[in-house]
Amino acid sequence: MAPSARGGIGLSVRLSRGDDPGPVGLALTPTRFEFLGRVAEGALPSSFSLECHEDLLAFKAKLLSATERRRVLDEDERASAGELVLRFIELGSDGRASPRRVTVRT
């Protein structure tokens, strides 16, 4: 949580110690805060406006962009030449997520 550029508070996510990639911010309004709280509890409430949902999707897109940049900087996309390593997350019968590593020889 950090002061928002527009005043008030916001989320600021930093994926590196330096400036590349830069922090990704989301100004928090009461509506957005409530929306995030509901989602955290496992619900995607339909009573919120589409605009609110789209705002969060745009935030997610910025986060993915920063993650992509970080991966490029860390050069961790490929385990080695000719191999691609993926981490699938699978849900067990108890609802717990468990990662599974998949290697594909390209």
């Binding site: 910025k62 993915l64 962009s65 691609l84 699938f88 998949v102 290697t103 594909v104 020889r105 390209t106």
Partner: protein, 407 residues
């Protein structure tokens, strides 16, 4: 604004019989081709042309000819692979699962001369890994919930390996019937080629879509193996306007979206939405040009409310007015033919079939005099050829112009 003549260089036996809506909007806007499928067809053309180092470039207007990818091994694995799930659930050893699935897949695969999927065993450590990757790519399919045939299903455009054309696969082979890639993507390609900012757009498409070494594209390459191409070039695309303000606005919006600091995968859905809007605007704009109307196109949109409002009435009126424009344009275009010198000469002539109107495609072979008419009136509404086939009848032109051809 220059309106280009129909090109005659391309022999198209299954093409449109009447060149009417094609003359107004191009060959062709097709209502069964969603904006997503339009973009995928566009990317197919773009990738093929980029391979020939001529992306978004037209050496000569309306002479686009390209050889798209088919990627039939990939498509069989993703969309024509019903045995994978049952084999996975069979609780066999990994070796046994491969041994069971490979012959079934080889037998079931369509459109391949010599189906062989044995290379997959070297690419995945386990059958379950292979199934996970297939499931992941299936879940990202475009309009994945549709009941389209398997050869008309498409994977998300993660990279160039995921681009392929719509085909019809039968027991006798693979054919291009253009059921869902009905050339609207070709029209989109030509529109962007002819925009003022084509060069800037080319650079962005190249950097953000064509030349990205995306991990998911690597997955698709692993499944597909060597690239498969269509056997023949695809030609016959036509766009009547050498330039148009709609083309420039379309390119500007694409550039603005591609310049956003978001991954290309997230930019693509927005490009699809904007493309759909611009294609509608192009259709309406061309309609008003044919109708010689000066009023700007307006789309009144209502923010849905529980009660009927004035805005809703305006919105409904706007929709109906816009919806009627293409039909009015078609009618004006066809009625306008009656005023052409060729038509008047044909009406006066004893052998009207010998006079071939300049607005209408001339057959590449065969004597024109095979079209003597039995009866005629000033509009040609009742004209019939000696073989009983209706020809140049304005009413049939209007009826036909609502149904796209297949080529």
């Amino acid at each position: 604004m220059e309106v280009l003549a129909k090109p005659f260089g391309h022999e198209d036996r299954t093409g449109p019989e009447m060149w009417i809506d094609e003359a107004i909007w191009g060959h062709r806007l097709h209502d069964d081709q969603s904006p997503w499928l339009t973009l995928l067809e566009f990317l197919c053309v773009l990738h093929a042309e980029n391979g020939q180092t001529r992306a978004l470039t037209e050496a000569r207007l309306n002479e686009l000819s390209y050889k798209p990818q088919t990627q039939l091994r990939l498509r069989n694995l993703l969309f024509n692979n019903p045995h994978m799930t049952t084999v996975l659930a069979s609780d066999q050893s990994d070796e046994a699962m491969w041994a069971t699935w490979l012959p079934l897949m080889t037998e079931n695969a369509g459109g391949l001369d010599r189906p062989d999927f044995a290379y997959l065993r070297d690419r995945f450590e386990t059958f379950q890994d292979f199934a996970s990757v297939v499931s992941f790519l299936q879940s990202s399919a475009i309009e994945g919930g549709s009941n389209k045939r398997w050869s008309s299903k498409f994977v998300f455009p993660f990279g160039t390996s995921a681009l392929y054309e719509d085909v019809c696969v039968t027991a006798t082979g693979v054919a291009t019937d253009r059921r869902f890639f009905a050339r609207t993507g070709e029209i989109l390609y030509l529109m962007l080629c002819r925009s003022r900012r084509a060069a800037e757009l080319r650079e962005r498409l190249d950097r953000r879509i064509l030349k990205v070494d995306a991990p998911y594209d690597g997955l698709i390459r692993a499944l597909q193996g060597d690239v498969q191409f269509a056997r023949q070039e695809r030609a016959g695309a036509y766009l009547p306007c050498a330039s148009h303000p709609t083309f420039d606005r379309l390119a500007e919006d694409w550039i603005a979206i591609l310049d956003l600091q978001i991954p290309a995968y997230d930019a693509i859905p927005h490009i699809v939405t904007m493309t759909g809007l611009h294609l509608i605007l192009y259709q309406l704009q061309r309609s008003t040009e044919v109708l010689a109307q000066q009023d700007p196109i307006t789309l009144v949109c209502e923010i849905v409310s529980p009660k009927r409002s004035v805005v809703r009435d305006l919105s409904a009126g706007s929709f109906q007015g816009n919806n009627a424009l293409p039909q009015q344009a078609l009618e004006r275009f066809v009625r306008g033919i009656v005023d052409t010198p060729e038509w008047r000469a044909a009406v006066q002539s004893d052998e009207p079939g010998r006079t071939w109107p300049s607005f209408y495609p001339r057959p590449s072979s065969g004597p024109i005099s095979t079209m003597p008419m039995k009866r005629r009136d000033s509009l040609g509404n009742c004209w019939r050829s000696s073989s009983g086939v209706r020809s140049f009848a304005t009413s049939s032109m209007l009826a036909r112009s609502t149904r796209p051809g297949r080529a």
